[in-house]
Symmetry: none
Subunit: 207 residues, 4 copies
């Protein structure tokens, strides 16, 4: 994705454990923002954790905000890919919805730090970056809603509830996961995923 490109010029970037400075910075930021919040984390904290100087950080990221922005972009990219894959599966719509919910719960838990940051810190993103994230997010929402509408058209989903609201209802549960789910707790990711998917599908299914 970024490798051969003939000969490189300038001093080559230093790596630690095969990770370049910007990668380490993003890793550190992810962990710290999730733990202490965006405002609660200083740039100093991030560079210290990444083993990088402040100047180097500003060489790669124009501002602290861009660090956060990049974290958002990563998550959005992954979520979109996953959902697109599920939607394209050759299965009855109810099963695709079920699979989509299972997948989003599992990946949310697998990336619980990103998820923690996502809704807690959205308002701290710079105006313009915030708009971009909301746009991407909306696209994701629409894809899922189309699935629900498809089910309603087929008659397998009830149509006395707005598909729009049903999507918000479902995703609300998922996005709230970071507020209570703990790795040490009793419910495994799979268990939560199955439960949520079951409850949602049972809720919108026609009787």
């Amino acid at each position: 994705m970024s490798a051969p490109e003939g000969r490189r010029r300038g001093r080559p970037p230093a790596t630690v454990n095969g990770r370049t400075a910007p990668e380490r910075l993003l890793d550190a930021a992810l962990e710290l923002f999730a733990e202490k919040g965006f405002d609660g984390t200083s740039v100093q904290d991030v560079v210290r954790a990444a083993g990088v100087t402040k100047g180097a950080m500003y060489h790669y990221f124009p501002s602290k905000d861009d660090l956060l922005h990049e974290i958002y972009l990563r998550v959005l990219r992954m979520q979109t890919e996953h959902l697109d894959t599920v939607v394209a599966m050759d299965l009855p719509v109810a099963e695709r919805v079920h699979a989509a919910v299972v997948d989003v719960v599992v990946t949310t838990i697998e990336n619980i730090q990103s998820a923690t940051i996502f809704f807690r810190s959205l308002h701290q993103l710079a105006e313009e970056n915030q708009r971009q994230v909301r746009r991407e997010r909306r696209r994701y929402h629409e894809t899922f809603r189309a699935l629900v509408v498809e089910g309603q058209r087929e008659g397998v989903f009830r149509d006395d509830v707005s598909a729009e609201l049903a999507v918000d209802y479902c995703f609300g549960s998922v996005h709230h996961l970071p507020m209570w789910w703990r790795a040490e707790g009793d419910a495994s990711a799979d268990e939560v995923a199955r439960t949520f998917a079951d409850l949602f599908v049972a809720g919108i299914a026609t009787r």
Copy 2:
């Protein structure tokens, strides 16, 4: 809750529009914390909006954190009261659950600023205050869970899903409301409330 206490002594607190300084401070803090976040709001911002001097604020509230804490306490008090009322109603359990969900959605929307702050800023609350809030919150959660368990015992709710997870599932949707619900949007509070309640109850009902 704090008022009548027989005779008063000393100079009565100055009021503006019938609201005392601490009330105005809380109002201002609520609005600003919801709009700009806790860290994004300075004490200066709050006192300016409340029309009070900084010294006066520190006279009433030991710290900025206590302003936030008091906002949490207000919400918790109200939610608890509401839920207790619903639980005590003389209705079939499924209807009480439905009513409880309707109520929590409606009051969340009526107090959308508090709701915005609730989950976004919990981690910014001082350790000890945070624990207290979580305790209260847990109590609320347990009360609702008891209702679900009651339904499972009666056989009206399926018991192949954990009551615990079902409650998290339901409340997740509700707590996420501030992330997308807008007064100007198309869905009224009542519509959202009914939809969420229907979906939840249909989801956990036995077939």
Copy 3:
């Protein structure tokens, strides 16, 4: 100018040698900006020289720029007063022009630090403050120009040169003083003043 005002509230400002913090800050800034330039002087330098903490400085001045701005306002106020006084004198116009030049040279030398800063740092003032200074400066320029025009109308000054340019010519010499005049040099303020005034008046006088 600022004294009695009944009773004061709040902690009274601390003074050193009878000078309050803002006064000391302005004194220090004047000296340092003249010596090392505006950009070459850090806020740290200023507060150290003034014996004040950084926080205190920002209590009185919203920014480093405002420190500079206040220095400009002081100079402008003084220059305007002086010129107005001279213009109002009951003397032939040539003598008033002569007196005005003498006065502006003398006060420029007496306030050589302000004068040093004036033209060297104008471009560093914030946009808005810069505009205000230019406006005031223009008013001063116009007052002097009116005097020259008056002389031209009376026939004592030649009218083959634009009054506008004559004023720029004269003031240029004066404003450039800080670039070369030194207290230890041979020319006293009075000597310079008389020379400049003589040369200017002789230059515009009709033959």
Copy 4:
């Protein structure tokens, strides 16, 4: 002055619009220093405007200061040449003084950016470079003063004013030009030049 040197070795320097990297750097620096000040311009700004990398800049100029220094040297070289030419003319002294003033005004306006920088940024030049500039500057001043003294000896210039002060008086006006002269203004370079020269010569002429 720096070019022909017989044979060249190695790769010839890349040019853009026929200008080499160091030339483009100097052009860019001139424009930016005049517009935003020396401190207000970062090395990054300069190299970006010149279309050159930072490393390349440091290849040609040991420091940012040297960029400024080179700008000073260019101006000084030109001014000296011009004055020497005028002084050597075969004309009455008063006419040579008049011509010198006209020339310095015209070239100052033609090189208004250099002139803007000259006095505003002198104090920002490194100690040693500053001394060199002042030395050159002094030589220029002396040449002009000699002309005035010559006029006084001949009796065409009054000797009740110090030649030294007269020179400062005259040059002050000229050096202050960048503070007010604008290309879009009403006064052309020639008009200003003639006016200043007339006023100066009339001022020092014997009656």
